[in-house]
């Protein structure tokens, strides 16, 4: 068999997959900088944990559920079809992409979707339970929904219902990734309840430059997410690239303008959040809008998300890092926005309401969004509740107050003092003593990080 692999397309998809992989560490920084310094490590670990676990599940059965032949109604792929991926190590007849390039590219989408959810439950989730949740949620919610949205029928292969039957446009995952994660975040925030002090203490971001680094890496990686979804280095990829740039830029302007008018100041947290809001909104829409349409979508998404992040105070759910306000709302703006702003001159070739296309595409978009939102919310609520009632999902109050980094990971993020440090930073370092080196001896598990002894003398 002669190879039909297109090296340029392969280069672009592999590059894009690496870019999307980087988004998860980027998200860890974005989220990590936003929490208080006593829980930054746990925040980052939720992303890294999801990265590790979901990758392995993807190999085992995840890819099969998402991209295996449909086993009925467009709802789920055959989970055993590619078990272990052994069969995908060789080129496929006539294909221009190596199968593994697609496998890798889609793996990183599954990873980041799960990681996104963690922002809703900052500072208060048991790490072990989070991992269990991540595995269950990926299996029960993400893999099937990816099948619905991303698995196009081709030849003998039958894919998912949203892509093929409803024919809603979701170029890179407005429904499967963002609405999905956003709805799950809302459900989980409700299951776990509010943090101690929510709405009373400020809980300011402890490290805004870290948030900005994260936003920068996310933007960078998102070019792989969106333009890589063309699965080829072609004109379509180039158009989506530019739309991804300008919609995001416009969303930053939209968010900052909203803050300036409402609060009197444009904040850097707002700029970073605007980046993400814009990226979320353009994700489903980047193939169907013109650059000007993208600017419009970005402005709307930036402004609406800036308003939406305040809703949690009004309704009293503690969506700690605004997964709902940014990903759910931004995902809805993008997915439904296609129904209004799509222009036939864009690669997708569909006209929305504002471009004379009527409401046909609009209802498809709305229905796809609604389906994913509902399923994700309900399933997540169930999974979360079961976990909370059985193994427990929320940490003890004292661990939350004392800092989850210490109680869950026996670590603290920063130790910025040095024995002969700076003019203003001397140190108490030697006060810490190494009492034992258990590394090799390995005396087994222990739970000794009590902050306070419970005896009152």
């Amino acid at each position: 068999m002669e190879s039909t692999i297109n090296s340029g397309d392969t280069a672009w998809v592999l590059t894009s997959a690496a870019l999307v992989l980087l988004m998860t560490p980027g998200l860890a920084l974005f989220y990590g900088g936003m929490v208080r310094s006593k829980s930054v490590l746990n925040m980052m670990m939720m992303s890294f944990g999801a990265l590790a676990l979901v990758s392995v599940l993807w190999v085992l059965y995840g890819y099969s559920i998402a991209f295996g032949d449909d086993v009925g109604l467009g709802l789920i792929g055959d989970p055993t079809q590619y078990l272990g991926l052994e069969g995908l190590m060789a080129e496929a007849e006539g294909a221009s992409l190596p199968p593994m390039a697609f496998v890798g590219f889609q793996a990183v989408f599954a990873i980041i979707t799960v990681a996104l959810i963690s922002g809703a439950i900052a500072d208060r989730a048991k790490f072990g339970t989070w991992l269990v949740f991540a595995g269950l949620w990926a299996t029960v919610v993400y893999f099937p929904v990816a099948h619905w949205v991303f698995d196009f029928s081709a030849g003998e292969h039958v894919g998912g219902w949203i892509a093929n039957d409803l024919v809603a446009i979701d170029f890179a995952g407005g429904t499967a990734v963002h609405i999905n994660a956003g709805a799950a975040g809302l459900a989980l925030a409700l299951v776990l309840g509010r943090r101690r002090g929510f709405g009373r203490e400020p809980m300011r971001p402890h490290n805004l430059p870290l948030v900005m680094v994260g936003a920068g890496l996310l933007w960078f990686g998102w070019f792989g997410f969106n333009a890589g979804s063309a699965l080829a280095a072609n004109n379509l990829a180039a158009v989506t690239w530019v739309n991804t740039l300008v919609a995001t830029a416009a969303a930053v302007l939209g968010w900052l303008a909203t803050e300036r008018v409402r609060d009197g100041h444009a904040t850097s947290l707002g700029a970073a959040s605007g980046v993400v809001a814009g990226l979320v909104a353009i994700t489903p829409a980047c193939s169907s809008l013109s650059p000007i349409g993208s600017v419009a979508l970005g402005l709307v998404a930036g402004a609406l998300c800036a308003l939406a992040v305040g809703l949690k105070y009004r309704f009293g759910y503690d969506d700690s890092l605004d997964v709902v306000g940014v990903h759910l709302v931004g995902g809805l703006v993008g997915t439904v926005g296609i129904g209004f702003l799509a222009t036939a001159s864009a690669p997708a070739g569909v006209s929305g309401l504002f471009y004379g296309g009527g409401a046909d595409q609009l209802w498809r978009q709305a229905l796809g969004a609604f389906a994913v939102l509902t399923v994700s919310f309900v399933a997540t609520y169930l999974i979360g509740t079961v976990l909370q009632r059985t193994v427990g999902f929320r940490v003890e109050e004292e661990d939350e107050l004392g800092g989850i980094d210490l109680s869950a990971h026996a670590e603290q993020a920063y130790d910025l003092h040095s024995a002969a440090g700076g003019p203003a930073g001397p140190a108490l370092e030697p006060a810490i003593q190494v009492t034992a080196h258990k590394a090799v001896a390995g005396v087994g598990a222990r739970e000794r990080s009590h902050q306070e002894e419970r005896t009152s003398a």
């Binding site: 107050l401 210490l406 026996a410 670590e411 603290q412 108490l428 006060a431 810490i432 003593q433 190494v434 009492t435 034992a436 080196h437 258990k438 590394a439 090799v440 390995g442 000794r448 990080s449 009590h450 902050q451 306070e452 002894e453 419970r454 005896t455 009152s456 003398a457």
Partner: protein, 112 residues
């Protein structure tokens, strides 16, 4: 005048401040310190080596008050900062000879 120095648990500081404000204390100086005492710190684990951290974070308040108010202030702190658990902290009182408000040059009672 008296200087009341109090070392309390960080999460109690806000309550203490509010109680003192209600009583009429208009100012104080606050710093972050580390306490060493009966309350032990925590254990951190790095690559199989275990570290005992001996110090616990505390908040230290310095409040200069009229002689007459010293006992009340101590009492208020004692009440609001108490959790009954080890490590609630200490309060001590010392004599002060003179106080000055930098802005106006006012002295002693007038400076508080």
């Amino acid at each position: 005048m008296r200087l009341v120095t109090a070392v309390v648990k960080p999460h109690k500081w806000d309550e203490v401040r509010e109680a003192l404000e209600t009583f009429g204390v208009t100012g104080m100086t606050v710093s972050e310190v580390s306490g060493y005492g009966r309350q032990k710190g925590h254990t951190e684990v790095y690559r199989g080596a275990e570290y005992d951290v001996a110090l616990v974070p505390k908040i230290r308040l310095e409040i200069v008050v009229d002689d007459a108010d010293a006992d009340d202030v101590v009492g208020i702190i004692a009440k609001t900062a108490q959790t009954g658990l080890i490590g609630d902290g200490k309060v001590w009182v010392q004599p002060v000879e003179s106080v000055l408000r930098v802005r106006t040059g006012e002295r002693d009672e007038a400076a508080l």
